[in-house]
Symmetry: C3
Subunit: 319 residues, 3 copies
């Protein structure tokens, strides 16, 4: 999209002297964004990222104009986040498209006749896909993977080798992102990223892994996920992690390798969790964890031994 066309759909103003004759191909964060991409500054804590960003244009409040580098076109808005939501719709691609060419299926792969195989998808060798699963446009599936029943792989999902996905799991549905206007209405931020699942990952039944808003949600190689687990958009789960049943990880949280998350436990969004961290069942993580190799429990979260001690103290209140 040409920037001059894009801004016709937005409530923004551009200071004099900037060329609008540039192409915007994608939305992205300030941090990861590159030339040809549009970003936004919604939270002043990220002002330093604006100063170093390499995007071509940015949605900002007028107060941030002085912090915008010369080579980035500032799109000034009363509420940059709402303008982002509007822009995200313009970059959304159709769920199914006839433009993506024929699917390619490897040798010795068996696919149930009820399975939808999207255009442009590439399925490896020795793959099994069972009844009523759906392989969206542009999905790739590595060799030897097994997709059980009623599995939904939304467009552009990338599934590694030796992956197992159990029935009813949904990979790549929209991340949960909205901009709320002054009347309390929520405007959808279209989720234009995708999901990437590493080799030898196993995902249980009726799990949900949301597609990224930009870029990707990642589950790294060797991670094993139980049933009814939720992974939010743009999360990044380290290698060989274990996520037990009914646990959940919110959006944009990055987790190191060999993480263990107990049953019904949860991790809030936008955190960083050190590798080899264990969080016991029903615990809730709301802050980043910097030291690796520790056990954590409870909500609020404590180191496991401290939590045990604290529970003993609490229990002694009854005496």
């Amino acid at each position: 999209v040409k920037l001059s066309d894009l801004i016709k759909n937005l409530s923004v103003t551009v200071p004099d002297g900037y060329s609008l004759d540039i192409k915007i191909e994608r939305l992205n964060t300030l941090k990861d964004g590159k030339e040809g991409e549009l970003s936004f500054l919604h939270n002043k804590n990220y002002t330093s990222q604006l100063k170093e960003s390499r995007v071509s244009a940015v949605l900002i409040h007028k107060n941030s104009l002085s912090n915008t580098p010369e080579n980035i076109v500032p799109l000034i808005a009363d509420n940059p986040y709402i303008e982002l939501a509007k822009a995200s719709k313009l970059f959304a691609t159709p769920f199914e498209s006839s433009d993506r060419g024929e699917a390619v299926v490897g040798e010795n792969t068996e696919i149930d006749s009820s399975v939808h195989i999207g255009n442009g998808s590439v399925i490896g060798k020795n793959v099994r896909i069972f009844a009523n699963s759906y392989i969206g446009d542009g999905v790739t599936i590595g060799d030897n993977s097994i997709i059980y029943l009623n599995v939904s792989l939304y467009k552009d999902s990338k599934i590694g080798k030796d992956v197992i996905i159990h029935s009813g799991s949904v990979i790549g549905s929209d991340g949960f992102g909205f901009a709320t206007d002054s009347t309390g209405e929520h405007i959808k931020i279209y989720q234009n990223g995708y999901v990437e699942i590493g080799d030898s990952v196993e995902i249980g039944a009726n799990c949900t892994v949301d597609r990224a808003v930009f870029d990707k949600t990642v589950i790294r190689a060797g991670t094993k996920i139980d049933n009814l687990v939720h992974i939010g958009h743009n999360a990044d789960i380290g290698e060989n992690s274990i996520l037990v049943g009914q646990s959940g990880i919110s959006g944009s949280t990055t987790i190191g390798r060999n993480f263990v998350l107990g049953g019904q436990a949860g991790v809030a969004g936008h955190l960083k969790i050190a590798p080899f961290t264990t969080v016991t069942a029903r615990a809730g993580v709301t802050k980043s964890i910097r030291d690796s190799g520790k056990y954590w429990s409870g909500f609020p979260l404590f180191e496991h031994r401290k939590w045990l001690k604290l529970q003993a103290k609490i229990s002694s209140l009854l005496k």
Copy 2:
């Protein structure tokens, strides 16, 4: 059903002098019930509702006979709730029926060939329905709505305009209602109501919204629901609410507009929650909330600031 026929299937007695030659068309609560409907009094706290009810007949324990208005036929039972369960079965309609006429589909609507479209359903314009979804008998879907993969819309669901329902969600499955007899066996209360979803609602992947036992479960316009969320029967969720992943709302709870429910949080049944209430992640609400606009946390629930203070006090037990 004629009342005289209905009571042949129940263990009830009727005092002399009442006419059984009336038609009962539906079950309903004492409060909402109208002429031609049968209700029940299971819990003495609702005796005042009995006194003012407009139903035509009521299942009661003999102790409540004196509180039954003259114009309501009392059906006296040892356990009115069990008789209600038995009666509910008689009013259940088939899941699929050939009696409901042809479906009507609007212009420019695209429906995957694998989708079942039930009799008597009415689907608006510009709707998209993707693979393996099921549209039950008598379902209505408003213009521009998107139903993704493997979605189940049970009979009589009413879906508004501009609604998005992600894959694997189940709308209108039976509410969880049973009457337990003296041997500990649970007798199903058939759920003869339906689900109504307002305009611009978005429902994530693998959610469940139960049909009402009588009347309807309601999700009002503009509400956005994340993945793996559960909504119980007869709940009523206000406009523009946000329900984050793995949260749940139990049956018969009524919630005001712009409610926010954090991830893995829950709300018990039969409560009233004021508008603009925020409940943070992992909190549990067990009492009604009367004051609007407040933040709440924890389980048991406290106002958020109090909860923070309390956690500091608790934590100081370790010193």
Copy 3:
């Protein structure tokens, strides 16, 4: 499999003097195992079970050799659990097979044309199976049962009479079991058991019930399960229990009759719960419960009255 062939795939040594010319038909626990079966000793707490086991061969660490009865062939491994994982793969049977003969369907049973009916399955009379459900190989379904939409019944599931399974539920997907090697990689323990569901059980929407690793996961007659509930492998849920929405029961836990588990509550694995136990919403059970008929709350768990008292004490810290 002949034991001599089996051990070619494993990293084990066998002391002199044992015959490897025996047939191993199945894996099993030390406690339940019979002649012709292979077991393992992973945790020294179970040494007494080794001494009394009736299996034909056992994977053990060399330290346990002296505790192995004469009639059991010891397979000595550095990590017996990893060798168990390797062995489990050898006993896994295909998800779909042409060897199991034709399905048998009873009178007056109606099955939607989109439903897959596996080989060797036996479906009773008056059964209803709705769109996009999948009945795996060797599944049995008793008379009058109703299987709603998109339900997955994996191979060998046994479903009783008068059972109702709501849409999207997955019965018999793999239990969550892995052996972790010294590099932190998780090796799948193939789940070669099955699920058995008793008469008059009702299972809500989008639930998951995992198949057993050996033997079976059991849900006994009359139990009613709400939506989004997870049941781990080898769990055994007593008659007429009630499991409310989003609750979960971990693997190998045995529960007595008329158990009630509140919404979003959880029970850890390998526990025994006495009959007529009630666990309130959002509670977490981590220890066995020996006395029947009691109410429990909170996490950590307390008897309900104690928990109420404790919450009052905690709350008074604010004064």
